[in-house]
Subunit: 397 residues, 2 copies
């Protein structure tokens, strides 16, 4: 009787709002910055650790600490200051996270998931063991072993080389067509992946909270520049038939559940010429492919990440309107204090919202911000996105 009585009076199990509860975020880049927009909305106290004194996420947190995310002691001591820890970047000291979790601190995503995802070989093995469709692969502890396999005709060109660790934004991935393509590649652990022709790259973000409530965002499509082989537009919803969208969302759900993942999981996939879905890789955090949701979605990916790790009910992942995202990257030939040329021209277009990350210096191809274009009509949004891309320029003074 007493226990029931006590439980009835425990009516604030989730008192995160304007309270003493402290959420720690490892990393204060643009993803951290956009997470902080949601923690401010809910008035949740946040502590941010980032190596840069000019990190975009320095402002709008309650406490900022400059420190090395790969240093055990720095991450461990930071973790001791907070009630729950999350990440906005995968490359953090996992031993510290593991020790914090062992000592009882909730850490989402879990260090064991992060460890598996950090190594692309392990990640691929995991998909195979779980029966999740993915291109076939071979693991090599050293690049020389891959060379030998090709020389001995155990493997054949062409194939895709991927560094097992620390790949980022297309770094650490290369198509190999002959021995000459090995020039300049790093020596370390890698995988060789079968090259499967595909007609589209898709992504689905899955939100899953501590209790296991799970929702998928709509399928987005990465549209590539016809020549430069660079993603130009992230388009939501993807221009694919409903049955394929359904299959993509189901496959993404399967991946999140297989990882027993808590928080957001961005699942990147290929749609093959035969309309099969193959998992490419995942990111266990808010992701570039979900930025459109700030303006287009009922609940932004950032809000749902916060809801998921705090075990709050997830928000509606569907969209109010169509959304397209264009990355703002530093133009070639410009390095120095950034200027967003013609930003006033794109602001004059209905449904256009620039996000400026707050990096003071531009460099060629550095991600400086993004622009979201929303419209009730996806094809109109697509036209406007092209206009935006052709108008704004990230240059230096």
């Amino acid at each position: 009787m007493f226990l029931i009585f006590a439980s009835q009076h425990n009516d604030n199990p989730m008192n995160y709002f304007s309270s003493d509860f402290k959420l720690g975020i490892l990393g204060g880049g643009q993803l951290g910055k956009m997470l902080l927009s949601e923690t401010r909305k809910f008035d949740i106290q946040t502590y941010v650790l980032d190596p840069s004194p000019e990190a975009p996420g320095r402002i709008a947190c309650n406490y900022f600490e400059q420190g090395d995310l790969m240093d055990f002691e720095t991450v461990y001591q930071f973790g001791k200051k907070v009630n729950l820890l999350t990440i906005e970047i995968e490359n953090v000291n996992l031993d510290a996270l593991q020790k914090l979790e062992d000592e009882g601190l909730p850490v989402y995503p879990s260090p064991s998931t992060l460890k598996m995802i950090q190594n692309k070989g392990e990640q691929k093995d995991f998909y195979v063991h779980q029966g999740i469709p993915t291109a076939s692969h071979e693991r090599f502890t050293h690049i020389e072993a891959l060379k030998s396999a090709l020389k001995n005709e155990v493997l054949e060109f062409p194939l895709i080389w991927k560094s097992a660790r620390f790949g980022y934004d297309g770094n650490g991935v290369k198509v190999l067509r002959s021995m000459d393509d090995f020039i300049g590649l790093p020596q370390g652990e890698c995988i060789a992946e079968e090259m499967i022709p595909f007609k589209m790259e898709l992504a689905v973000i899955v939100a899953r909270n501590v209790s296991g409530e799970i929702k998928t965002y709509p399928v987005v499509e990465m549209e590539f520049h016809p020549e430069a082989n660079q993603v130009e537009y992230v388009i939501c919803p993807a221009r694919i038939p409903e049955n394929i969208a359904q299959k993509a969302r189901e496959t993404a759900l399967q991946v999140s559940q297989a990882f027993n993942h808590v928080g957001l999981l961005a699942v990147e996939m290929f749609l093959t010429n035969e309309d099969d879905i193959l998992i490419n890789e995942v990111a266990p955090r808010p992701h570039n492919s979900g930025h459109y949701s700030i303006e287009a979605g009922y609940t932004s990916q950032f809000e749902n990440h916060i809801r998921a790790i705090l075990n709050l009910p997830l928000g509606n992942t569907e969209s109010k309107v169509a959304g397209i995202m264009v990355n703002l990257v530093g133009e070639e030939g410009f390095s120095g204090p950034v200027v967003y040329e013609n930003i006033e021209n794109i602001l004059a277009i209905d449904g256009v919202t620039p996000h400026i990350y707050g990096k003071k210096e531009t460099r060629p191809f550095r991600k400086m911000g993004h622009v979201t274009i929303v419209n009730e009509d996806l094809s109109k949004a697509r036209k406007i996105a092209e206009e935006v891309k052709n108008t704004i320029r990230v240059v230096s003074r």
Copy 2:
């Protein structure tokens, strides 16, 4: 020739983004806090002045100063630190603002507009002179003069007494039906307004930038509690015929243009039983009646305030979906550290977004936050809003 050449090369006239430009905001309450969400998005440097060391707008600005907004020297010295000054509250030292403007600092809204709006007698006179429809009124320098007018039958009960200065959220307004109703009223300058029966209270927010570009937000409706005579829901769009909505928006445009206003102007109005629009009063800043636009609008009122004062093109003021706002006020009988009881229950409903302002202590009727409900169907949103209102409770531990 040289001048034309120079002008062609001045291609960054509006370099506010990740630059040294500093925007000053007088006041760091919830309106300031929500403005900062937009300045972070655009990475515009902000300086905030507020008397409270725990102001909601303390976090997410670049520089916070604690100080008295009514003190000449404090406001003047703060203004010298910034490149452009705006307000989130009307009650600030106007002499300091005037001196800053005279010395060349852009101040929006202008001190002269603020001065007129601060005095309800002057504000009402202005409407009369401008031919803007409003209930008829008489001005009195002292409450005794109003009493005499009633005793001498120059005026008749019932009428509406309004304090000329510092009215706020229903304070400073009272219906007088007999001499007994004078008990407890302050002595100072006031107006007596004709009591005109009306069927609805409406509001329209107008955004106008420095160049004179002007846009109105959709008409919102204030729905009152049937007994308590307190606004319960702000509903967008108002449930009125299109021709009346059109008339309300046109009247609001007329008011903004009459003031030559820069920034947001929230225009509160009555819809009479004869379907006439009468201006009640205005607020020269973001306003409670526009909070719904964060989730429902293409451009939130806060973003458009920033755009307007920086002379950027205005964003689309129309809505993606219907929106309803419910204020979160402290429950009677509770004072102390705040707890948002059952917030997890309302988060479980699709399209529901709580905004927690970050005030640590609740008091009866203190504005602690608001909740926005969005839905494609306004009547569904209205039902959910009622559920939200009946579920969440702002109490103390």
